[in-house]
Symmetry: C2
Subunit: 238 residues, 2 copies
């Protein structure tokens, strides 16, 4: 949350390097920085044990986001699925003169087994429990995901992010059908990436064909933005 923190420095360096040729986006969350691996401040839960204190986390999130904004970021993507997260960020950005920075909200982020490889790389697996109290259960009704999207739009989200992508194409389709004109971003996560890489290494799948088919599927389902580890490959292929 310091003006000279690693993200602030990285944003300034990136903007110095690419100017307006590339969009620089930041993920606003805390699981990367906490020793317990959860997405916010812990408190003693009323029922015993620990849980994430939603409202204290929101205060920190606003401080984090304003540092990123002052560093020159183009887009902010809060990923923690805290309640009221989008409204807190949007109103703080507006108040501090950053009306033009869009908020891309992780509106429906499922507690997924496809995050495995990322968590290992980022060493961000929670030290106890899991994130299911603030991320969505994959077995939850799709109606619940629609409510999360509706809430985030009400709170002022500019872009709706859905994550993971491939095993949630039905959710992308529903958001496309039910929220006319809303930009949808699909996050093609590490597990989706690594399983194709593993099969390709064994000679079982054709990487280019499978990747283009999968990204086409995300577009067909309704995504207008795709976040993918294959971005540079696809830029060459197309």
């Amino acid at each position: 949350m310091s003006e000279n923190g690693i993200i602030a420095q990285a944003v300034r360096a990136a903007k110095d390097a690419v100017g307006n040729k590339l969009l620089v986006a930041t993920d606003a969350c805390f699981c990367e920085y906490t020793d317990h691996g959860h997405c916010g401040v812990l408190r003693d839960a009323p029922s015993g044990g620990k849980d994430v204190d939603n409202d204290t986390t929101l205060e920190n999130l606003v401080r984090q986001v304003l540092v990123q904004a002052r560093a020159g970021v183009d887009l902010i993507a809060p990923s923690g699925m805290m309640d009221g997260m989008v409204r807190a960020i949007r109103s703080s950005l507006d108040r501090e003169g950053f009306k033009r920075i869009p908020v891309m909200s992780y509106a429906a982020k499922f507690a997924s087994a496809f995050y495995g490889p990322f968590r290992e790389a980022a060493e961000s697996t929670p030290q106890f429990g899991d994130r299911r109290t603030y991320q969505m259960d994959p077995a939850a009704s799709s109606g619940q995901a629609m409510r999360e999207v509706a809430l985030d739009l009400q709170e002022g989200a500019d872009i709706i992010m859905l994550k993971p992508a491939l095993a949630y194409l039905d959710i992308i389709r529903m958001v496309r059908d039910r929220f006319e004109g809303v930009p949808i971003a699909a996050y093609n996560v590490s597990g989706e990436y690594s399983m194709v890489k593993a099969a390709v290494a064994n000679g079982w799948l054709d990487e280019k064909a499978v990747v283009l088919e999968s990204l086409t599927a995300m577009t067909r389902a309704g995504a207008s933005i795709i976040l993918t580890y294959w971005a540079k490959d696809v830029a060459k292929w197309l």
Copy 2:
């Protein structure tokens, strides 16, 4: 197409073994038997080269299906996506007294890179060209898939099959939303299976978690039947 062909023998053996405890289903198609690997009879195309003769293929398909019906099969799944396929099969079954055998139509079968491992195992990769003149292009509009489903229902299909499953969850969702009450089967194909197996072998994914999440996604999208190589594992896990 002989009454003592390999499929007829296999159906009789399977029904003798399992009685009414298991449903015995057959895939009605020809790509497994043709030296060229296409799904039907070839003819000289009007534009030069060869293509699949739709109507002659339908005649053979009816002969094949009636052999399977007389052998005692419980359900017939024509997979070739020939025009008029469901009507030809349904009316022949009805005429010959097999009204109770349901037809599960491969209504929207996409020409997919996820079939790679199956084709290699079955040695059924077409010797020339591909199946895109009768299978659907993954980049085609989802509206085209809806028309294929509507046509197959009109022709008398009892169950609608969509294939592959994971990268087509948006299509499953659309069929569920647009065709109230129609049983949908999702075919979780060899490429989808093998990429998880490859990643699990590398220690990158948790097989049980990823498989249950993926099958849950197919159900959430709208499938009421799932064809999967994990069937026996899932029966133990649940």
